[in-house]
C-alpha cells in the first residue's frame, strides 16, 4: 500500500524544507500569494509579478553563471521540446489566469489563508494525474517536435553568456522604470 513512499536522505529533505520556507516567506511578503496580484498582472493593472520575476532572473543569472564558471557548479537546463514548451505554456497561461495562481504561489497561498487555493491545488493534482496517463502519447507526438536537447540562448547565438547577464539586468531595469506608476488603482 505504501510501497512507493520512499524518502530521500534526511539532509536533502531538510535543505528542501528550508528553501521552501524562505521561498514561501518571500512570495507572501511580495503579495504573490494573492489572486488579485497575479490576475492583475495579466490585466496589465498590477505589475508586481513582472517586477519580481525580472529582478529574480537578473540577480539569479549573475550569481548562478558566476558559480558555474568559477567553481563548475552544475546547471539544470530543461530540454527544449519547442512545440511542447509553447503548447504547454499556452495551456498553463490559460489555467493561471483562471486560477489566479501558478503551482508555487498557489501552494504558498494555502499558508496565507486563501481557501479557494485548496480546490486549486486539488485541481493541480488531478491535472498531474491526467498528464501521467497521456504521457506515452505526448512523448510520441508533441514532445518529439522541435526537440533540441538542453540548449541555451548563449549557445545558439555563440555569444558570451555575460552579454545576456548584462542584457538581462539592463532589460529588467528598463522595463521596471517604464512600468513605474503604471499600476491601475481600484476605483471603488
Amino acid at each position: 500500500m505504501f510501497e512507493l513512499f520512499n524518502f530521500a536522505p534526511p539532509v536533502k529533505l531538510v535543505m528542501g524544507l528550508c528553501t521552501g520556507i524562505v521561498f514561501g516567506f518571500l512570495l507572501q511578503k511580495g503579495g504573490l500569494t494573492r489572486f488579485r496580484v497575479i490576475v492583475g498582472q495579466f490585466l496589465w493593472a498590477d505589475h508586481t509579478v513582472l517586477r519580481t520575476m525580472l529582478t529574480a532572473v537578473a540577480v539569479g543569472s549573475a550569481g548562478v553563471w558566476a558559480l558555474h564558471q568559477m567553481w563548475d557548479v552544475p546547471l539544470h537546463i530543461k530540454s527544449a521540446h519547442l512545440l511542447a514548451n509553447a503548447v504547454g505554456g499556452v495551456i498553463f497561461g490559460i489555467g493561471m489566469a483562471v486560477l489566479g495562481y501558478c503551482p508555487g504561489t498557489g501552494v504558498a497561498a494555502l499558508g496565507d489563508g486563501s481557501r479557494h487555493a485548496v480546490p486549486g491545488v486539488l485541481g493541480m493534482l488531478a491535472g498531474a494525474a491526467v498528464y501521467a496517463e497521456v504521457y506515452p502519447w505526448m512523448k510520441k507526438t508533441i514532445l518529439s517536435i522541435g526537440s533540441y536537447g538542453k540548449i541555451t540562448i548563449p549557445e545558439i547565438t555563440s555569444l558570451s553568456v555575460w552579454w545576456f547577464v548584462a542584457g538581462m539586468a539592463v532589460m529588467s531595469a528598463t522595463v521596471c522604470i517604464l512600468l513605474r506608476g503604471r499600476d491601475v488603482m481600484k476605483t471603488s
Binding site: A8, I77, C176
Partner: protein, 190 residues
Amino acid sequence: MMSEKSRKIGRGNTSSKGRWSPYVVGAGIGVLSWITFGLMDKALGTSTTMVRLAGLVESVFDLEHVMNNPYFAKYIVSKPGIEWQMMLVIGLVIGAFISAMHGNTSQVEKVPDLWKWRFGPSVFGRYAGAFVGGGLVLFGARLAGGCTSGHGISGGLQFAVSSWVFFAAFFVAGLITAFLIYGKEGRHHV
C-alpha cells in the same frame, strides 16, 4: 486604523512588515537560486512535486497501475518520491504562513473580489473554477516541462531556450485569457 491598514496587502501599501518591495523579494529569490544551485545542486521548482504526490496517492489504491506508468516511473518508482522538492513545497506553506503571521496580513479568501464582480458570489462556482484552472496549470506545466519557478525563474536565469519559449507562451496566453474573462473594465476591479 493602523491595524486596518496593515491588514490590507493591496497595492500602495508597502509597510515594512506587511508587504515588501517586489525588487527586494525578486532579489531575494535570485539569491535563493544561488544557494540552491551552489550548495544543494538543485534548481527552484514546484510542479514535479504534484506528479509525485498524485502518483503516491494513486499508488495507495492501485500500486500496479502506478508502477507500470512510465511517467510515474521516472519520478517515484526509480527514485524516492519524497525528496528535496516535495519538502520545498511543504516549506512554501509554512513560509507563507510565517510571513502572514509576522506581517499580520493573513487573509481568509473564498471568492476573490474580481471573480465576484464577474461571476457573482457563489463559493461553489469559484471553487469549480479554481479546480479546473489548477488542472490546466499542472497539465500545461508538465507538457512544457516546468512552471513559473522551474521554467520561469530557474530556466530563465540559465537562458534556456525551452524556458524562454514557455515564458512567452504562458504570458501572452494569460494576458489574452484574463482580458477575455474580465475585459478592460475588469482592470478597475482587481
